[in-house]
């Protein structure tokens, strides 16, 4: 039985060093709400666990250029308690807050939710819709990448050996912009999203949509940024016809699977429903 090594470095450099030199499987531990379950069920058998929570900046939210730099291990509950983030990006905070129970909220991190690379991760569509980026540290230094580039497929990321996500940058929210995230689950809590839709849109003074991003989760191997859905909204006043076009565009983009959580037909249909409902909420927020 191979022993597992546990390390809790205090700097990004040390963490990169440990991950780079690891033999066998190395796993980054942030909130641990996915990793520990995967270890317990034998889906992951790491030889090295690098707990990044002792790195100071990784547990902090910093205001920056009108936006925020959110450490990769900031827990959901900490986000929900941050008034400025809640005000700027309510959709992202709600999406994060939907992940699991109060107990899970005490631990689960946005970095973990992103890097676990589940197609159904709740925070990811909201981050993608908001145009968030991730700071990746690695042996060659750091790089900024759009969050949608991190997951590469179910359980797979684009991160190279030795790399990990240090923080996520939420951009400054432009005037007249609102975001929202809605997901569907069979119960009211504790389920994995059957479908999730994140929408960020900007309205001008007349109420016409001038920009939009629509991201859909759990309907493809990775979160989809649906450009046709955005086009359906831009230039409209989000009237019934625009909403119907949005619904149709989102459904057209879906490539879901049948599984224990939902059918192809169900996911497809409900993605359109949620898109309409999320767009309405985002629009209300955009109007302030």
């Amino acid at each position: 039985m191979a022993a597992i090594q546990y390390e809790a470095p205090t700097t990004v450099e040390d963490a990169v060093g440990l991950l780079s030199k690891a033999k066998g499987t190395a796993r980054v531990l942030a909130g641990g709400t996915d990793l520990l379950v995967q270890m317990r069920t034998g889906r992951v058998e790491p030889s090295l666990i690098v707990d990044i929570k002792k790195i100071p900046q990784i547990r902090k939210i910093k205001s920056e250029k009108g936006g925020f730099r959110v450490g990769a291990a900031v827990a959901g509950a900490e986000m929900s308690e941050h008034a400025a983030v809640c005000k700027a990006w309510p959709g992202i905070v709600e999406a994060f807050d939907l992940i699991g129970s109060t107990q899970i909220q005490g631990r689960a991190s946005m970095g973990g939710n992103l890097c676990n690379a589940s197609p159904a991760a709740d925070s990811v569509p909201a981050l993608v819709a908001a145009g968030a980026t991730a700071t990746v540290a690695g042996p060659k230094g750091t790089r900024e990448v759009p969050v949608e580039k991190i997951p590469a497929g179910p359980g797979k990321t684009s991160l190279a050996k030795g790399e990990f996500v240090v923080d996520i940058v939420l951009p400054a929210r432009k005037a007249g912009t609102g975001d929202a995230y809605l997901r569907f689950i069979p119960r009211t809590e504790m389920d994995i999203a059957v479908v999730g839709v994140g929408i960020c849109l900007t309205l001008d003074k007349s109420g016409t949509c001038t920009a939009a991003r629509v991201a859909v989760g759990a309907v493809a191997p990775t979160v989809l940024l649906v450009e046709d859905a955005a086009k359906a909204l831009i230039g409209t006043k989000l009237d019934d016809a625009a909403m119907a076009a949005l619904d149709k565009a989102v459904q057209a983009a879906c490539k879901p699977i049948d599984d224990k959580r939902g059918t192809i037909a169900y996911r497809t249909k409900v993605s359109g429903v949620l898109a309409r409902r999320a767009a309405a909420i985002a629009a209300e927020r955009a109007k302030g």
């Binding site: 039985m1 022993a3 597992i4 090594q5 546990y6 809790a8 531990l29 909130g31 641990g32 709400t33 520990l36 379950v37 270890m39 317990r40 069920t41 666990i49 707990d51 929570k53 827990a75 509950a77 699991g100 129970s101 109060t102 107990q103 899970i104 005490g106 631990r107 009211t188 809590e189 504790m190």
Partner: protein
């Protein structure tokens, strides 16, 4: 197999233990420290029976590695009563018959205490969502929710 030496505070007392890297805080509480009030219902964070406070945050101890408890402040059901003085929630749970088999009770009490510390006057809906991570199969939650709301009212005075 080399073990990790961890120093932590549990219910206000400094505690040291040795653990394997894959052992969870729940494993150590139950198997090494014989604090069996925290229950293992699922080991996947879905039932909340193992709820404890770590550094003032409500967590599932099955989803925390024991090594992570180094330097932390851990609070478990064993520390909830003050000597033989039950916490108001414990008393109300008894009065409302808010437990049947009682296996979920320690976790729910810890979670409810965390709720009332954060929201002294929760609505029924807030209470239900806060406790959504604590499964109870016996009660249908009715008497649990009533006990929590009644305690909140009493503690507000």
């Amino acid at each position: 197999m080399s073990k990790y030496h961890v120093t932590t505070s549990i219910n206000g007392e400094e505690v040291e233990f040795l653990c394997e890297a894959q052992q969870t805080l729940l494993d150590v509480l139950r198997d090494e420290l014989e604090l069996t009030g925290s229950k293992e219902g699922c080991s996947s964070g879905d039932c909340g029976a193992c709820s404890v406070m770590v550094d003032d945050r409500l967590v599932c101890s099955c989803l925390v590695l024991a090594t992570e408890a180094e330097g932390a402040k851990v609070e478990t059901i064993e520390g909830m009563a003050d000597g033989d003085q039950l916490h108001p929630l414990q008393q109300k749970f008894l009065e409302h018959a808010a437990l049947q088999c009682g296996i979920c009770t320690p976790g729910i009490l810890i979670a409810a205490k965390a709720l009332l510390e954060k929201h002294p006057d929760p609505s029924e809906e807030e209470t239900r969502y806060w406790l959504a991570g604590n499964l109870c199969r016996c009660t249908g939650y009715d008497k649990i929710i009533r006990a929590v709301l009644d305690t909140a009212a009493e503690m507000r005075g």
